[in-house]
Point group: C6
Chain length 243, copies 6
């Protein structure tokens, strides 16, 4: 019943953190992402992955004075502008002010991608990075070992240049292939975003599977997605009302 207390949050705060600024998320992370962590967000379709990524960058640029790079492996800059606009976030302005950079790039050469990311991050002194959708890595490499090595090398580079990074992943409802794949093992942290069908309705929730360097909430918390973005009900548990 008692969930995450303010004291616990304080107790963990001595280590360097990257505040997501997403309502409730820093609370269930006991103070935000440990700095320079590579975090995988694994989510169902429609669970709020992109929203969380955009909000992470937006809050960084507007509230914490941390620039961000958004690497889109499938969408154009315009599409990202539009999606952000839907939540009232003016990414175009942030880009023009040099606080944000959006890279729309297809994955056909991993080393080129890595260099592009490194350049972009250093050009605007970014402290936050998003790569979306990360599932493309798994599709791109034929051998799991290869995808794993490249992801590791990417993560190492990001740590070196001082970026807290989020890579999105798609939960395949096909549980037999890989609910938790290489990304979840290789990453420093894993956030699970569920959009599951419970009898006659769809329910959204979040759970922190792991996060190196910090205590985490061990509960599933309900999520609300509104026109202002994603909101985690850190003080509630998923089935609280039902009990």
């Amino acid at each position: 019943m008692a969930t995450v207390t303010a004291t616990a949050v304080k107790a963990e705060k001595q280590m360097e953190r990257t505040f997501s600024g997403i309502p409730g998320l820093d609370e269930i992370l006991f103070g935000g992402f440990p700095k320079n962590n590579l975090v995988v967000i694994s989510g169902d379709p429609g669970s709020g992955k992109t929203c969380m990524c955009l909000e992470f960058l937006y809050m960084g640029a507007t509230k914490y004075n941390e620039n961000g790079v958004y690497v889109s492996l499938e969408e154009s800059e315009d599409e990202i502008f539009r999606t952000a606009e839907g939540f009232g976030w003016d990414f175009k302005k942030l880009v023009s002010e040099g606080k944000m950079m959006i890279i729309s790039i297809e994955l056909y050469d991993f080393d080129k991608l890595k260099n592009t990311v490194e350049d972009a991050v250093s050009r605007i002194h970014a402290r936050r990075l998003v790569i979306d959708p990360g599932v493309v890595f798994r599709l791109y490499f034929d051998r799991e070992l290869d995808a794993r090595k490249r992801l590791l090398s990417l993560g190492r580079m990001l740590k070196k240049i001082g970026c807290t990074a989020i890579i999105t992943n798609e939960i395949s409802l096909d549980k037999t292939s890989s609910l938790f794949g290489l990304e979840e093992y290789v990453a420093d942290g894993v956030i699970l975003l569920y959009h599951t069908q419970l009898e006659q309705r769809f329910v959204r929730s979040v759970g922190i599977l792991k996060m190196r360097g910090t205590k985490i909430s061990e509960k599933l918390h309900p999520i609300a997605i509104t026109k202002q973005g994603i909101k985690i009900l850190a003080k509630h548990e998923l089935f609280e009302e039902a009990e």
Copy 2:
């Protein structure tokens, strides 16, 4: 218990919408499809996929003055005429009036398909598009990544030329291969049409899994298919009566 209220519907209406005109559907979408969205309808056999597609185009052409293109990857123009006739929709007339175009084409060259679609849409200034059955994409491409890229490029082109599009998908009862496949992740919206066996009867229902740019109903709603088309009982939940 309270479902979608008129107020909520109004509140969402400031963004541009494509009204499906299908009874109940716009209501559970809080005002219709966000304009230019690429929507996947994933459905069981006999769940009403084709009916919903035809009705979407028919209502566009007759009620909202929006022309439509129906791209059939497996059926002839005549077959589509006949199926529509079964619901009392005179597609032949709409075609002759230049409000509708039916393209029956086999998928053997993706770029050619894309060009054909683009030409047709611009020729009759269509604002609605249906591609049926979309599962052919998955069967056509050997690598998932390839299918994904092509679908993305198709969706981008449709957005550019200003079309709200529906692509149908088949839910494989084989849950191990891909209940939600690439289409569900790549699309802006996903509508699930179920035709499931509950003990001794078959039941039809609809759920909106995701829809970028709008609030959605988070419930499973019962469906009725009559001689006048598909009808979503937006004010009811699937198991309401049973409880």
Copy 3:
């Protein structure tokens, strides 16, 4: 509780129908198969697939004056004669009267099969066709897309020459590979014949999964197989007695 009423049956009768003549089946189809439909019967081993096919042809030839062609991809003419005899149906006589034609052919060239079928149908002006067992299509083609295209082209030809057709399919108890495969999606109608083990006994039932162009019963009905053929208990539900 109320099942299919006579009024409902009448209400649907304005469209052209092919009466199966199988006790109960036309009733749960609200008046028989819509004319020229391609129907897949998917059934368990021992569920009565072959019996239903034979009865469909026999009733056509003897009661509705509609000739029929039986294409057997695995059995000889003699074997089919014998099986029909077991139900008291004299197929030999029907063949000699030119009301029936039995083609025993191995599937090694799809186009040849198609031509043979077309020839046979036109020679005796058949209005009914059975291809059994249809699972051979799936085994014959390596790519699902190929099987799908061929089946579509076969169905189109049958519609053109005015035949209502049944293709049998085998439900693999291996639910992971394809309970509903391409046949169920491509066909106009799907009849499910179950022969399932319920604790200590085997139970037979039928359900109509879909049927383009007609209203259908949405229940599972019990089946009896007697020496006079298959009989669907249209007024009962499967678990009626048990409750």
Copy 4:
């Protein structure tokens, strides 16, 4: 509660039958195997498949004056002699009297096998045949379609030469690959022999999945394997005592 009655057994007896002579089996088949049927016995390890096959041949040779051929694809003549001896059946004597023939042959050429079987059957005018273990067919052919065709051609030959035949099959506990495989669909009859673990014990039972040309019991019956062979408790149901 009432199971198979004597009247029912009589009522079915007008068609030609091959009496198994196995206690209880002819009763649940309403009078024995329809003559010349190709029957698959699908069973778990230790469920009594081999015992049932041996008893079928032994009863034929000693009680019904019908000679039999046992084709072993994996065991030597001596091994079969020994196994039969364990049940008190003197196969050596039957072989020396020309009432039985045991062929131990490896499957490396299907046509050769077929010829060998045909020769043996005609040499001793056999009316019963066993091929054990039939699973070897599936392992031998790479394409399911090939195995299917060969099995069909074998069955056709056996019918022509007037043999009632049993082919054994192994139920793979791996339900995902093929509980009911091609054998069950191709065969005229299927007998299921279960040896299943129910909490803390192993239980044996038999069910007739299908049998062309005869009525069958639709129940699961318990089995006892004693030193005198297999015995089906035709008057009981599997879970009778438990209820």
Copy 5:
């Protein structure tokens, strides 16, 4: 409730037996392994497979005056000495006395393995053989049919030279691949050793799936592994205490 009685054990004793000497095992086998049987022990990790094999050989050499050969496909002679020592069994002494032979050999040539085994058995006139771990056979051969044939030929040779043999197998928790594989079908007997997780603890049990030539207990019996070896509680059922 009544389990295996002394009378029953006596009643079965007229056939030649190989006494395992393992407490409780001969009892649930109604007098030991039928002589020259090829027995597969299929077990979970940590279920006691190796312990049972070692005890089988140790008891043979020290109590029943039957020499034994241990063929290890993965471990060295020293490792086997050590493992046996852990149970207080001095295999080194038995080897030096010519009552035991340990062969540590990698499987790279099946015929060579067979010859080596045959030589060893005849050199010390062994009556007992263990091959451990047998799973290597399945990994070694690409085609299941090949593994099956070789295992059969091995079993035949062992019968010829008069050995009762145990081959260990690993139960893959991956139920989809092969809980009961070829080994279980090909062998004369199958012993299942479970080490399963029941809620918050691990439980050990044994069941005899099949054993040609003898009556068997049809229950799951609990197992205790102590410093003196494995012990089967033949008079108890697995869930006796819990009920």
Copy 6:
């Protein structure tokens, strides 16, 4: 209810042990790892695998005067330093004092890895070894048999040079591929670290699946991961509180 008692722990202590020093672990192992055992730790993402490995080495070097080698197949020395620091363990100092060695090496040549490990162990006279993550072995070798042989040869070398070793493994939530793979069968011991979702929260627990040479706790024990490392609640069972 009574769990592991001090007496039992003493009773087992006569054999040589490697004390993990991890609170609770030696207790549920009845005195620590049997010396020179090769132990696999199989765990979910976020279950504490790395923490347990680091603590095992740290306690060895600081409390039991046993040097240790950490072979990282994916992370750099610096990353390991940082992770250890998070628990207050100064690995840098231990390395500088020659009590610890960290080898960061990619697996591209198994023999080279083996030699490197052997050299490192002998150079600092290490008695403890960790290889992390061991899953790389399975990904590296195409044939399971090859991975199995190499792992065996590695384990043999480690025993020869007198090292107690831990190899980490990842539990794939995809139960169909290999919950217990070759590592669990080949290893002397297996520790399972679970991080499982129970309704609305994540729960950590540990179970010992097997451990050659010692008695083990047969229960699932809860785990706490704090800033001081991993702690096993040896006196508790997982669901104790809930009951």
